[in-house]
């Protein structure tokens, strides 16, 4: 070799690595890689981090392969072994590339939710090859061509050898912008010209390129995640490498340098952790990237923690009943807008506000505001909801005692520059102590859920219960917010959400309709009873009512059709938390048989049950509030404000005793009622819930009351309608309402009994004995239909008993035989008149006689005879001829009873009932709203027997209706409200609505709000402020007592005549005990409250007058006691504070008759008395056969009133002497004690105007009976005592006017 110094005529390299060269000859470059690596590059502008100020594309452009960008990363990793070595030029650039590479991996790790990987197959889209394709420059194909020898490496190695292997690349996008791709050489590489403008730890803010986040600020959580991801990649490199094992050696990749690089990076992370004082990284887990990448890159970059969760406990391995999940699938996607729920000031200021709430939501601290909280829908997926199940309360942090340590927390940032944000962090703790953290920042819907509630009923769930209802003011199909309920699986040990194949809950409604749920999910039935739809789109108030046969688990919230999270119902299985609905799924209840008695009244209804297990009738039954308010509170104080919509259009929240249930039904706007089956409106409205809800509310925003409808006025919903006084209505729609009322009411009862450990097995119902057969048949149909109401899963089928006397009620003509009335004498002195005489006003007008006798003559004779004669030949009206045959039998236990019968059964109950001695005659008046049912009990052969039952349409409602005419009544109501400090909308609060139509309503409202101890005060107030109402009261009660006297006389005579009566009974004139029952019985308390002695005297005298006077009385009955003299016993056995008022019928129904063994006549005809003189039957041969007032009256007689049955006073006799006798005493007492302003002339005018025949013919019931006979060929079935009809007419035509004079 020459000693000349030679120099390689090659690119400039570092002198150390410059090849020596061979003089004159071409020589091979030794250690080519080293040579190339050491090429010296003139200074280019590169900063200390290796970031070139010039476009990196310049360097890319030097590599003559379209895959240059990918190659650079491999070169970088292969060339830069030590990040700390000095580097310049390309090596410095490679260092920056490695930083970029780390940045990209960090981006995947920390922001994988923004990452998308699209696999692009590098072939022509027309499927053709290079020589035949239409466009050889098409990028996908052209790029593929350029792989040349490397093509096999870029193909899917898992494909069979004979498969058409097409190279591919997974293009990685971040928020929709291409940022990189996958490469078998460097795993990933960044794209040539991306730029990210947002701030992230892995982004260099100067140039928008990725950098190793260790070069910037990274928080401990991010570091934790990154370390886990790097480790995951490192651990899987070998698997990834093996994927390429069959690739030709020349192109087979080796990853030693990448492994070294990642390991070094991890070491750097540890140093970073130590420097920053962060927690150690050894427990870190990879981020839940999921299945972002396809094979084979999935091996490196996908990570799904296969965890298993059961009730919030998270395992690494499968356990029985555990759910496989991937932590990244627990939070809703960050594109979700979460809804805020506004709980008002209280919610905002109260820490742990949700702790007592029955719904699980997410509470967030408000950023920058100390102790200020906000509430949001749960941003958890259904999967997460099931993984945590009943421990969700622990997850959201309101159950500290739970051993579930995982938590979801949130910070609410109302001031973020891009709008309100909710920063949610989910920390999962596995059983092995690993911590996995997910954080997502959500946007928040533009408005909040505010002032709306979702309620459900009942407040328990059980496998034995299958009717669950949900009332939502956020209909699932509303325009803004929507809530859609879903159910839980009762057969699942953890009551998890029932999910479909895609993991979506089975929502119960869709598009305005109830969801039809496939049988494959089990027997799940959802109904939408009330829906929000276009027809009511103009109405501001939206609500819908669901029913499901499986319990609700939660609701999905959505905003404008876009889901925004969940609310989960929080059930309590421990029974420790009163406010929460109870989960009894794993606590089956033993349900004892209950025998129900239901007394459906026209104003009030009553329900009682007999417990088979306790062998007693319930003392009382309280329907407690079983509603669960999810988004508000159901502690609504109706003393302060009237009931709102949700209180009337759903199950009731007012807790009531079942003897004071108002017979009022709130009906829905019919346009809201869902008619899925296109059934007839009447059938639809007869359904429970759809047809409305019984209304227990005592403070309603009433606008008006007319035609048996209360009209309520609301700001939101506007008008609401309540139906009342349904009982006697024969309107078809009212039949539906009755059915709906009773159906829904029964649901209340079922729920209450369920809680009390009972299940109704039988149901007996009552009916007034005066009820027409047709209506009775209708009721039988109604009650029979209630068998289907039962929400209880059991073998028991509710038995509703038919009425005992449906077959022959009202048939009074067939089997009765009357003997002539006998008279019995007795004497107990004349004391009876003493108390009456003690009353000054009464004494002055004399006793027994009045000066009214003369006038009636005038209009008696006019032309009656002629008309009567025309039809004489056709009719032969039977009059009584012989004694009544009772043919007693024990009252069957398998029939529904007339109200009277039921009361009788109640009266003879063990523990508190009447003993009924041989010398006793018990008369019971069950005073309802519109009817008073009368029962008479006495000892007969074989035991206690009911010898009389009937009913008259004269009851407490008369008093209530009179309030319309009472000028001073409003004052009374206002005064008592003031005293009681209660507020009643329309009366003493809000716009005044008190008028003559609403007066009875307010009367009831007030009475209903009174406690037992308040009544006396109330009555005294009436006596003081509103005397005219006292007169009304005295009129009604007095007439009942007068009629009682008439009946007692009649009954005694019948007993004496009867073959069924034992001699001992016949021998002794009975002591008379009068019992009052029913809500209306309170009218007998009024006078007593004012002056007990006078009241007792008044009622006794009325009774005696009814019997026909003192002399008759003395012969007919025995006084209760003679010293002091107590002629009759009036209601002495009533319960304290009238506790059993209105329970008499229902309890009488409930108490099995085999306990009471009461006898009832086989012959069920009513013994009804005429009660007035001057009536005669015109016999076929034209004779006038006069009847005693004690005679029976039959439907046949009334059918022919005015024709063959006429009122024909004999010459000189007053027109209505018996009524006048009653009126006389009433007048004396009420005018003297209560200042009745009517005078004798007014009364006389009334008597003369009696014209009772025409009045009767105008009675609606009379007309109906006529119509039935005419149209349906049914027997005429209307009957009523003349005395009562007279009393009604006088009351309506004269007394009501009379009191207005005040």
């Amino acid at each position: 070799m020459s000693d000349k110094r030679i120099k390689a005529l090659a690119i400039k390299v570092h002198p150390k690595t410059e090849p020596n060269g061979v003089e004159f000859a071409w020589d091979k470059i030794p250690q080519l890689e080293v040579f190339t690596k050491n090429i010296l590059i003139p200074e280019i502008a590169v900063d200390q981090d290796g970031n070139s100020a010039v476009n990196i594309g310049t360097i890319v452009s030097g590599i003559p392969s379209v895959f240059a960008r990918a190659n650079l990363f491999k070169n970088a990793i292969d060339n830069i072994r030590d990040k700390d070595t000095e580097a310049s030029g390309l090596m410095l650039f490679y260092k920056s590339l490695i930083s970029e590479w780390k940045g990209l991996i960090s981006c995947i790790a920390l922001n994988y939710k923004d990452i998308e990987a699209n696999r692009i197959h590098l072939s022509y889209s027309d499927g053709e090859h290079l020589n035949t394709t239409a466009n050889i420059y098409e990028p996908t194909g052209a790029f593929g061509n350029m792989l040349f020898e490397r093509k096999p490496l870029w193909c899917d190695q898992s494909l069979a050898n004979n498969a058409d292997r097409i190279p591919f690349i997974d293009v990685i996008s971040f928020k929709g912008k291409v940022i990189g791709g996958t490469s078998p050489d460097s795993f990933v590489f960044t794209s040539v010209s991306y730029q990210i403008k947002e701030k992230f730890p892995f982004i260099n803010v100067q140039n928008g390129k990725f950098i190793d986040p260790l070069q910037s600020e990274i928080n401990h959580q991010e570091l934790f995640t990154l370390y886990g991801y790097a480790k995951h990649i490192l651990d899987n490199i070998e698997r990834f490498r093996l994927n390429y094992a069959s690739v030709e050696e020349q192109i087979r990749p080796e990853y030693g340098n990448i492994s070294t690089c990642i390991q070094a990076w991890m070491n750097d992370m540890v140093i970073y952790q130590q420097t920053k004082g962060y927690p150690k990284l050894d427990k870190s887990t990879p981020p839940e990237v999921g299945s972002l990448f396809n094979y084979p890159f999935s091996l490196l970059f996908n990570y799904s923690t296969a965890l298993f969760g059961s009730e919030g406990i998270i395992y690494n391995e499968s356990k029985e009943g555990s759910i496989l999940f991937d932590p990244k699938d627990l939070l809703l996607p960050d594109t979700t807008e979460i809804a805020q729920i506004d709980f008002g000031r209280e919610g905002m200021e109260t820490r742990n506000f949700l702790k007592t709430k029955p719904i699980l939501l997410l509470a967030a601290e408000t950023k920058g505001q100390l102790n200020s909280y906000a509430y949001f829908t749960l941003p958890l997926t259904p999967l997460a909801l099931n993984v945590f199940g009943a421990t969700l309360d622990a997850l959201v942090g309101i159950s500290e005692s739970s051993n579930v340590k995982s938590r979801i927390t949130a910070i609410y940032d109302p001031t973020d520059k891009d709008g309100e944000r909710l920063i949610v962090q989910l920390k999962l703790y596995t059983e092995t102590g690993n911590e996995i953290v997910k954080e997502v920042i959500y946007r928040i819907t533009s408005e909040s859920i505010s002032g709306k509630d979702i309620l459900m009923w009942p407040n328990f769930i059980s496998k034995q219960w299958n009717r669950y209802f949900l009332y939502s003011e956020i209909p699932h199909n509303d325009a803004k917010f929507q809530a859609t309920p879903f159910i839980g699986n009762v057969d699942d040990d953890f009551f998890r959400i029932v999910l479909d194949e895609k993991g979506i809950p089975l929502y119960l409604a869709n598009n305005g309709k109830a969801a039809v749920i496939s049988e494959k999910y089990g027997n799940i039935k959802a109904q939408l009873h009330i829906a929000s739809n276009n027809a009511v789109a103009d109405n501001k108030y939206k609500y819908e009512i669901y029913e499901s046969n499986k319990p609700f688990k939660g609701v999905k919230f959505a905003h404008a059709g876009v889901d925004c999270g969940f609310g989960i119902i929080r059930y309590d299985g421990s029974g420790n938390t009163q406010a929460l609905p109870v989960n009894m799924l794993n606590a089956p209840r033993t349900l004892s048989p209950a025998f129900l008695g239901v007394d459906f009244g026209s104003t009030n209804s009553s329900i009682a049950y007999f417990s088979d297990q306790r062998n007693e009738v319930c003392e009382n039954l309280k329907l407690t509030n079983k509603r669960v308010s999810l988004l508000a509170s159901d502690s609504k104080n109706n003393d302060e404000r009237p009931a709102v919509e949700d209180e009337i259009f759903f199950f009731q929240n007012d807790e009531i005793l079942t003897n004071s249930i108002k017979s009022v039904l709130t009906i829905h706007d019919s346009r809201r009622v869902v008619n899925d089956g296109n059934i007839q409106v009447n059938s639809l409205m007869a359904q429970a819930v759809k047809g409305g809800f019984p209304c227990f509310e005592k403070n309603l925003p009433i606008e008006n009351a007319e035609n048996n409808r209360y009209i309520l006025g609301y700001n939101r919903i506007g008008r609401a309608e309540l139906v009342y006084n349904m009982k006697w209505s024969t309107q078809q729609i009212d039949k539906s309402y009755k059915t709906a009322y009773l159906s829904t009411l029964l649901l209340h009862v079922y729920a209450q009994l369920f809680i009390e450990g009972h299940e109704p097995h039988t149901l007996k119902w009552s009916y007034p004995s005066s009820m027409g057969k047709e209506l009775l048949s209708e009721y039988r149909g109604i009650w029979d239909s209630l068998k289907e109401i039962s929400p209880i899963e059991s073998q028991v089928k509710l038995k509703t008993f038919p009425p005992s006397d449906l077959s022959d009620i009202g048939d009074t003509s067939g089997s009765s035989s009357w003997g002539s009335p006998g008279t019995q004498s007795g004497g107990w002195g004349s004391q009876a008149s003493a108390p009456v005489n003690a009353t000054p006003a009464w004494g002055s007008t004399g006793t027994g006689n009045s000066g009214w006798g003369e006038q009636p003559k005038a209009d008696v004779a006019t032309g009656w005879g002629n008309e009567a004669k025309k039809t004489l030949t056709a009719v032969d009206i039977k009059t009584e001829t012989g004694p009544v045959r009772f043919d007693f039998k024990k009252l069957s236990n398998e029939e529904s009873l007339s109200e009277a019968c039921a009361v009788a059964n109640y009266l003879v109950r063990p523990n508190g009932g009447y003993s009924i001695n041989p010398g006793e005659l018990v008369l019971c008046f069950d005073i309802g709203g519109s009817t008073t049912d009368i029962t008479a009990l006495c000892q007969m052969e074989g035991g206690k027997a009911m010898i009389k039952q009937n009913s008259i349409r004269f009851a407490a409602e008369r008093v209530a209706q009179a309030t319309k005419f009472s000028p001073n009544f409003k004052n009374v109501l206002l005064r008592i409200c003031e005293k009681k400090k209660i507020s009643i909308q329309g009366l003493n609060s809000g716009t005044p609505k008190f008028n003559e139509n609403t007066a009875p309503y307010y009367f009831e409202q007030v009475v209903d709000r009174l406690e037992a101890s308040d009544f006396e005060t109330f009555y005294l107030l009436i006596a003081a402020e509103c005397k005219e109402m006292m007169s009304i009261n005295l009129y009604v009660t007095g007439l009942i007592m007068f009629y009682a006297g008439q009946l007692a006389y009649k009954l005694r005579n019948e007993i004496v005549k009867s073959e069924d009566a034992p001699p001992a009974v016949k021998a002794i004139p009975p002591k008379i005990k009068i019992a009052f029952a029913g809500k209306g019985a309170r009218i007998f308390d009024w006078f007593t409250a004012v002056n007990p002695a006078a009241a007792d005297d008044y009622y006794t005298q009325m009774f005696i007058r009814g019997m026909g006077g003192e002399a008759v009385a003395k012969q007919t009955i025995s006084p209760i006691t003679t010293s002091p003299l107590k002629i009759i016993d009036i209601n002495s056995q009533r319960g304290t504070d009238n506790a059993d008022v209105k329970y008499e019928v229902s309890k009488g129904l409930a108490i099995p008759t085999n306990i009471t063994s009461i006898l009832v006549p086989t012959n069920k005809q009513a013994i009804e008395i005429l009660g007035e003189d001057n009536f005669c039957v015109v016999t076929p041969n034209g004779e006038f056969k006069y009847l005693e007032s004690t005679n029976s009256i039959t439907p046949e007689m009334l059918e022919h009133i005015g024709n063959h049955f006429i009122c024909l006073p004999q010459e000189g006799k007053p027109h209505c002497p018996r009524f006048m006798d009653f009126a006389d005493l009433f007048y004396k007492v009420s005018s003297s004690m209560f200042g009745l302003k009517m005078n004798a002339t007014d009364f006389m005018a009334g008597f003369q105007d009696m014209n009772i025949e025409n009045y009767i013919k105008g009675e609606p019931d009379f007309i109906k009976a006529q119509k039935r006979k005419h149209d349906d060929q049914k027997d005429f079935d209307y009957v009523a005592p003349i005395i009562i009809l007279e009393g009604m007419k006088f009351f309506e035509k004269h007394l009501l006017k009379g009191i207005q004079k005040q």
């Binding site: 030679i6 390689a8 400039k12 061979v22 590059i41 392969s65 960008r69 098409e138």
Partner: protein
């Protein structure tokens, strides 16, 4: 004997071909008929034009009557027969102006468009690379260029097979490829191009594959190129010159947003070399890769151009020649003449080292084609002879000043009763003159224009370059004084001194009379004989020990 093919790609490739042509001109490739393909994206490129003109002259010089391009000779000037084919990728047509257009990225189904956009955005800068006008070449965007060049060649094959509207450049390519295919395993293909620029750098790695696929498509799959047998070699020429940086004003225009920036050439070269080293396709296709670089400071090729505009291409791009290009031509010589080194499974990288002193390279005879079998002497003998003849034409006979040139020399011969060359026409003489002008120098409008050899020598300066610096005068007065017999540094090679009344030149002419073409020179035509005659005379005069 293997059949030789040369492919020159891009501006640098063209200059290497220029050097190669001159090697042919001085007679380095005896008995060879060499197929030459020029390949560019830019059919108007100045360098390309210059070399094509040069080869055109070369061929005219060898052409006599119907014998276009003549025949191969030996031991004479212009001994090789050169067949030139020209191909360029056409980006002039509508819809072919930019990557985005030619790839039709915005057509097809939405899925197609999405996939095509994703893949393009991943690798090619969306706003610049995908949008610059392609008609000035690939502007150093070799990643894009390689793909376009490959597909451009394949596209030509498809067009040819379709048969309709085949363009002339496609036909020329086809003919070249026909020769290549015909040579089969005996083909030696050498490729000239740089790895730092645009078109050449783009094409080198893909050309073998492109040619192979061309053959496959052209033959409907019946033929191919077997890389195990066919021998491909190439230069891997790294940066050896710089030019003005484009200023922001130039870069601001969309069309010029992508411009090669020579400051990145070393970086590009390094990145490219790493690619070559690791690319299996390159390794498989090439037998030998000749790495040639310039490890000392490069001269600016546009030193006087003060406009701060980079000439991106076109007819203005006529960069001066450089010794490295000559070395590339020498690499081709090595590749074409060596008998071994073709058996490696993957490409071998070769380089050359040259005496280096005082921060300059000093080139000796042996540095170009080696010194085995006196090849260095032979080379310099031939080059010196050619250079001398150039001076005889241009300087002694005023050819550079549009004077008689060679015709003058022939006249001089006639004066010496050497009349057999008088039939060489004026036009034929003019071709020879013109060739020498390109080889050595000329004057245009009284301005000195250095030719190839001058330029090469300039590129070495101040280092030593074969000949005495006095051999390179560049003004008329110096030129007049030039003694053409003294161009060598070593006096041993000077022509014999003439004596008192006769200078060396006169003596040389006398020697000429005493020599004749030889049979082994395989010269047939008068021109060939004339050149061989002079060649022989010069060889004798130069006193090289070459036999």
């Amino acid at each position: 004997m293997d059949k030789l093919f040369v492919i020159a790609i891009g501006g640098t490739g063209m200059r290497c071909l220029e050097a190669f042509t001159h090697l042919c001109g001085i007679g380095m490739f005896d008995n060879q008929e060499i197929e030459i393909l020029t390949l560019d994206t830019d059919q108007n490129n100045g360098n390309k034009g210059r070399v094509e003109e040069l080869i055109g002259l070369y061929n005219r010089i060898k052409t006599t009557g119907t014998s276009v391009g003549g025949t191969p000779n030996a031991n004479t000037f212009f001994s090789a027969k050169l067949n030139l084919y020209r191909f360029f990728t056409n980006y002039a047509g509508p819809g072919r102006e930019t990557y985005k257009n030619i790839s039709k990225i915005t057509t097809g189904s939405p899925e197609q468009q999405k996939a095509n956009k994703l893949i393009s955005d991943l690798f090619l800068d969306n706003s610049s690379v995908q949008e610059f006008a392609l008609d000035h070449g690939y502007r150093a965007q070799t990643h894009l260029g390689s793909m376009l060049m490959y597909h451009g060649i394949v596209e030509a094959a498809r067009n040819i097979i379709k048969g309709a509207a085949v363009q002339s450049q496609e036909r020329e390519l086809d003919t070249f490829m026909g020769k290549l295919e015909g040579a089969g395993a005996n083909a030696r293909v050498f490729i000239f191009g740089s790895i730092f620029g645009g078109t050449g750098a783009s094409s080198i790695p893909v050309i073998p594959k492109a040619l192979q696929d061309f053959v496959k498509i052209r033959s409907n799959g019946n033929a191919s190129i077997d890389f195990a047998k066919a021998k491909f070699g190439s230069t891997l020429l790294t940066a050896y010159f710089t030019f003005n940086k484009p200023d922001d004003k130039q870069k601001a225009s969309k069309a010029n947003s992508v411009i090669a920036d020579s400051s990145f050439f070393p970086l590009n070269s390094q990145a490219a070399l790493q690619f070559y080293q690791s690319d299996p396709t390159v390794q498989k296709c090439y037998k030998l890769l000749y790495h040639i670089g310039w490890p000392i400071e490069s001269k600016k090729i546009d030193g006087n151009n003060v406009s701060n505009q980079t000439i991106t291409g076109g007819s203005e791009q006529k960069n001066p020649c450089h010794i490295t290009e000559l070395l590339c031509a020498c690499a081709a010589y090595d590749f074409f003449t060596r008998n071994d080194g073709f058996n490696s499974a993957k490409a071998d990288y070769l380089y050359k080292a040259v005496e280096f002193k005082d921060n300059s390279f000093n080139f000796s005879f042996d540095d170009f084609i080696g010194n085995e079998n006196k090849s260095g002497e032979i080379f310099v003998n031939k080059l010196g002879a050619f250079f001398s003849l150039a001076h005889i034409s241009l300087t002694k006979n005023g050819g550079a000043f549009d004077d008689a040139g060679i015709k003058g020399f022939i006249k001089q011969c006639e004066n010496q009763k050497l009349n057999q060359y008088s039939t060489i026409t004026d036009a034929e003489c003019k071709d020879i003159n013109e060739y020498f002008k390109l080889f050595a120098y000329t004057f245009k409008d009284a301005k000195f224009i250095p030719g190839w050899l001058y330029q090469v020598r300039n590129s070495v300066a101040p280092g030593r370059f074969l000949f005495d610096s006095k051999a390179f005068p560049d003004n008329p007065s110096e030129l007049k004084k030039l003694d053409v017999g003294t161009i060598f540094l070593d006096e041993k090679h000077h022509w014999s001194k003439g004596g008192l009344f006769r200078d060396r030149y006169d003596l040389f002419v006398e020697k000429l009379i005493n020599t004749n073409p030889k049979d082994e020179q395989k010269v047939n035509t008068t021109k060939e004989k004339f050149l061989a005659h002079i060649f022989n005379a010069l060889t004798i005069s130069q006193n090289f020990d070459i036999n």
